[in-house]
Amino acid sequence: MEKNAYQKMSSGEQLLHALHSLTNMVRIYQGNNQLVRNCLVQLTESMTPLMTGAGLRVQLENGRFFINEEKLPRRRGVVEHVLELFYEFLTVRGIGALQFRTGIMTAPPEALVGFAVLLNECGERVDGPDWLDRQFRESGLDWVSVQVLAAGSERPARAAGERERRRPEPPGQRSPRKVYAYTLRSLRDVAQKISVNQRVGMRKAVRMVQTMVEEVFLQEQPLLLAMSTIRAYDDYTFTHSVNVAILSLYIGRQLGLPRETMECLGVCGLFHDLGKVTLPYDLLNKSEALTSEESAQLRRHSLDSTRLIVQLLAAPADRKSRVMIPPFEHHLKYDLSGYPVLGWTRPISLCGRILTIADVYDALTSPRVYRKEAMSADRALGLMVQGLGTVFDPLILKVFIRMLGVYPIGTLLELDNGEIALVSRAPLAEDLHRPWVVILREDGQGGFVRGAEVNLAEQDRDGGYCRRIVGSSHPSSRNIQPASFLT
C-alpha cells in the first residue's frame, strides 16, 4: 500500500479500506498468496488503535459508516469511492453491523481468510446474515458476529414502477480506469481457474478486449495508453499483461490493423504470460541470480502459455490458433535467436512482433525485485533501438517510437525552470523531443497535485522554447503513478 495515501486516511478509513481489500483479494487469490497476507497485516494494524476492551464495532446507517458509535466523516475522492463500494458490498448482503472482539487480534491468518471468504459467500444466501453468523460459530470464528441491516439503512430504492435506465457509457467515452480494472479482473478470473486446472471460457476477457479496441479507436485522447503506465510492484504479472495488451493495441492502430486482428492482438497481449500462472511466486520474485534450473523453468513460460491455451481455453480451433502463436513467439526474437529453442524456423507473426516490442518496453520500465531502479521510458527506448533487426522488427519499432515520442507518456521530466512534469501526450511527429506535459506541484504532504498541461514545443516571442527538458526519470523514483494524474 502506498505509504502517503494510506497515512492520509483516518484509522476508521484504514480499517474499512483494509476490509474491502481483503474481501476482494480472497476472491482472486489463495489464502497463502503474499497479497492476501499483506491485506491481513493491514487489517490487524488498522484495528489496533480502534480496538477497545468491548471490542470494535462497524455499523451501517443511512448511507454512513459508524466506527465504535462514531460517525465516519465523508471525504471526497478515492477514499469515499472505496467506502461507498464497501457499503454497497455489506448492504447487498443484508449486513448492518460487524462486531469484532479482541480475539481477532491474535487470530491465525487462516481464520481471517476464512472470515473474508464467508463474508463473500453469504451474498449468495437468502438468509445472509443469519447464515453468516452460524458459519462463524461453526468455524470457530467466535471473535466476530453480524447484525442484520436495519430498515431504512439501505440506499433509497427506485420508485415502484420506475424502470432501470442506466445507460452504459458510449464507446470512446468510457472511463479508462474502469476499463483497466475490468480487464485486470477478466485476466485474474482466467488465471485463477487455470491455476486450479479448471476449464475456462474467454468470454469476459474477449468482451474487455473488444471494449479496449473501441476505446483505442474512438477516444480523442489516448487515455487508455496513459493507464498502461500503471506499475504495481506487488501485482506485476497481471498489470504487466494488461499494459502489454494496451500497448499492442495502440501499435495495431498505428499499423491500421482490421478489427478482428486487433481483437486477436489484444487477447494475445492479455494471455502472453499465462504460463507464469503456474510458476511459484518465489521464483517470479527472486531477487538473487537464478540457478540454471530456475532459468530453464522460467523460460518454459512461453511454451506453457501455449499449452494452457490449448488445454484449458474453451475456444474453437481457429480462434485458439490465432491466440496461441504470439505468446509462444514473444521471446523468440525477430531473428529467431531467442527461446524456446525448438528449431522453429517460421518467421515471427505480425502479432508476435508487436507483442515482443510491447512486452520488452513494459518490462524494462517496470520496477522489479532484481532491478533496483526501473528505466525511464526514454532510456528503455534507447536500449531497444540497439536491438533493431535482431530482437525487434525495425519498422514496427520505428512506428512504436513515432507513436510514443522520445519521452513517452508517463515519463517524469525535470525542466530547466525547476519544475517537474509528467508527459501527458505524445509530441507531433515533426519533433519527437517535445511532448505535452502536466506540471506537478508539491502538495506539502510529500505528494503532488496536478497542475497545468503545457506543450513543450511552445515557443516564446524570441523563438526560443518556453521550457526545456534537463533530465528524465522513472515516476516510481518519486513514488508517482502517472495514471493518477493523467486520467
Binding site: 501455449t306 499449452r307 507473426s349 533496483k372 519498422l395
Partner: protein, 455 residues
C-alpha cells in the same frame, strides 16, 4: 344550387375529441408489427433450410416490416429489459425469463438497447439470426457471447448498447492510488544486477553510471529524420498487414502442436493437442483443404507409431482421435467431395487419395458401399485404385468389393485375386462367379479358375 356543406354542425356541438385512450399511434403499430416479425424470425430461423420457401418468406417479412417502419420513423430502437422489450417507455414484447425469450437472451448478454437503422439488408438480418441462434443457450464456460459475436460481425445497420461491466463495480474496483510502484524498503542495499542469461531481462542497471545516462533515446542524433517513414516503408507496412491472415495462424498452430506432441510427456497435453488437431483436421476436410488435412493425418500416424513404441500412456489419446475422424459421417463427407473433383487441383486430388489410403481397411469397405455415388470417371478411377490398395492388404475389403454390383469394381478385384495368385483364396471366393450375370466377370473368373486347375 345544392348546398355543398358536408356536415351541418349545430352551433352548440362539443368540440371534436382526440382518439379514445387505447388507440395506438401509427408509429407504435408499425413498431409492434416489426417486433412481431423479428420475434417470429428468431423463433423460426433455422427450422427450415435457407433455400426453403418458409425461410425466404420469413426473412423478407422481417425486412419488410423493419424497412416500412424505418422509411417513415427512422431507426427502430427499443430498450432491453430482463423479460421485455420496451418501446417509447412501454413494453412491446414480454415473456418469462429463459432461453426462449429474446428479451432475456439480449439482457443476459448485457444489452440494454437495440437498434435497427434504415438501410438494413437481408444478409444482416440473416447474420443476426445466426448469431442469436448460436448464443441463445449459454454454455457453462463460454468462449464468447452474443455481444462479442455481434461486435465481430460489424453489421452496419444493427446497433446495440452493451455494458462491459460484467461484474459488480464493488468487486472489481482498483484503488489506483494504493498501488505501489516501488520495491519494498528492504531492497535497499548493494546494487543488484539482473538475472544472468540472454535477453532483455538480463540488463544491468546502474543508475549512477554514465553508461546508463547515455542510453537515452533523446541522445540519438537525427532522431526526427530517422523516425520519418519513407514511402517504401509505408508500403511495406501495408503489405505486412495485408499478408497477415488467419490461415497462416492455423498452419503455424498445427506445427506447434506437433512440437508439443514430440516434447511433452503428460497425457493431458497429448489429449489437448490431439483434440485441437482433430478439430483443425475436420475443418480442413470440410473446406476441402486436403493437402493440409493429409499433413495432419500423416504426422499423427507417425506420432502414433512413436507412442506405440515408447509412450503407451499416450495411446488412448490417439485412439480417441481416430475414433472421431473415422466415423462414418466423416467418410461420407469425403465422398461428398467427389462431385467437386473437376474443380480440385491435382495436388488436392492426390492429397485426398492419400488420406483415403491412410484410412484403415474397414473404411475401405465403406468406400465400396459409396462407390455408386461417384459419377465422374476420373474420380471412379482413383476410387478403384484406393480400394485395390486396401484389398491387397485386407481380405474383407477384397470380398466386399468383389461382391459389388458395380462391374468395374468386381473386375478390379478379380485382377487383384489374379495378382495374389493364392489358390485357397481362389477356391474360397470365385466359384459362384462362374454363374455371374455379367459376361466379362464370368469370363475372367473362368480364366482365373483355369489357371489354378479348378474346374
Amino acid at each position: 344550387m345544392n348546398d355543398v356543406t358536408a356536415v351541418d354542425v349545430p352551433p352548440d356541438a362539443p368540440p371534436a375529441v382526440p382518439p379514445a385512450a387505447g388507440l395506438k399511434s401509427a408509429e407504435i403499430l408499425a413498431a409492434e408489427k416489426a417486433v412481431a416479425a423479428i420475434m417470429t424470425g428468431v423463433k423460426n430461423f433455422g427450422v427450415f433450410a435457407p433455400e426453403h420457401a418458409s425461410t425466404i418468406n420469413m426473412l423478407q417479412g422481417v425486412l419488410r416490416a423493419i424497412t416500412q417502419y424505418g422509411e417513415i420513423f427512422g431507426s427502430l430502437i427499443f430498450e432491453v429489459e430482463r423479460q421485455s422489450l420496451v418501446f417509447q417507455g412501454k413494453p412491446i414484447y414480454e415473456g418469462p425469463p429463459g432461453d426462449d425469450n429474446p428479451a432475456f437472451v439480449l439482457f443476459r448478454a448485457g444489452i440494454s438497447r437495440f437498434e435497427f437503422a434504415p438501410g438494413l439488408e437481408e444478409n444482416e438480418v440473416v447474420r443476426f439470426f445466426e448469431i442469436y441462434n448460436h448464443y441463445r443457450v449459454m454454455a457453462d464456460e463460454p468462449d464468447d457471447d452474443l455481444v462479442s459475436a455481434l461486435w465481430r460481425a460489424g453489421l452496419p445497420h444493427i446497433f446495440y448498447e452493451a455494458s462491459y461491466e460484467l461484474w459488480s463495480e464493488a468487486e472489481t474496483a482498483v484503488d489506483y492510488d494504493a498501488l505501489s510502484a516501488l520495491a519494498p524498503a528492504d531492497s535497499d542495499g548493494p546494487e543488484v544486477t539482473a538475472r544472468p542469461g540472454k535477453g532483455w531481462e538480463a540488463l544491468r542497471v546502474e543508475s549512477s553510471s554514465d553508461n546508463y545516462r547515455k542510453v537515452s533515446l533523446a541522445l540519438l542524433p537525427n532522431l526526427n529524420e530517422y523516425c520519418a517513414l519513407s514511402q517504401a516503408e509505408q508500403e511495406t507496412l501495408l503489405a505486412m498487414v495485408a499478408e497477415d491472415t488467419p490461415a497462416g495462424g492455423s498452419e503455424a498452430a498445427v506445427r506447434l502442436m506437433f512440437m508439443l506432441l514430440a516434447r511433452e510427456s503428460a497425457a493431458p497435453v497429448h489429449e489437448a493437442a490431439l483434440g485441437f488437431l482433430q478439430e483443425v483436421y475436420l475443418n480442413f476436410l470440410a473446406n476441402r483443404a486436403f493437402q493440409r488435412a493429409y499433413f495432419i493425418l500423416d504426422n499423427i500416424r507417425k506420432e502414433a507409431m512413436v507412442a506405440k513404441e515408447s509412450k503407451p500412456w499416450a495411446l488412448p489419446a490417439f485412439e480417441k482421435f481416430y475414433g472421431v475422424v473415422l466415423q462414418p459421417e466423416i467418410i461420407d463427407s469425403l465422398v461428398a467431395a467427389w462431385p467437386h473433383f473437376g474443380a480440385m487441383g491435382a495436388m488436392e486430388v492426390k492429397a485426398l487419395g492419400a488420406i483415403l489410403q491412410q484410412l484403415p481397411a474397414k473404411i475401405a469397405a465403406q468406400l465400396v458401399a459409396q462407390f455408386n455415388k461417384v459419377e465422374i470417371p476420373e474420380a471412379q478411377k482413383l476410387f478403384v485404385e484406393i480400394i485395390v490398395q486396401h484389398a491387397r492388404r485386407d481380405r474383407e475389403v477384397l470380398a466386399a468389393a468383389l461382391h459389388s454390383e458395380v462391374e468395374q469394381l468386381t473386375l478390379a478385384m478379380l485382377a487383384v485375386i489374379r495378382e495374389l495368385n493364392d489358390r485357397n483364396l481362389v477356391e474360397q471366393l470365385l466359384p459362384k462367379f462362374r454363374y455371374d450375370s455379367r459376361s466379362q466377370v464370368r469370363q475372367e473368373t473362368m480364366r482365373i479358375l483355369a489357371s489354378h486347375n479348378i474346374y
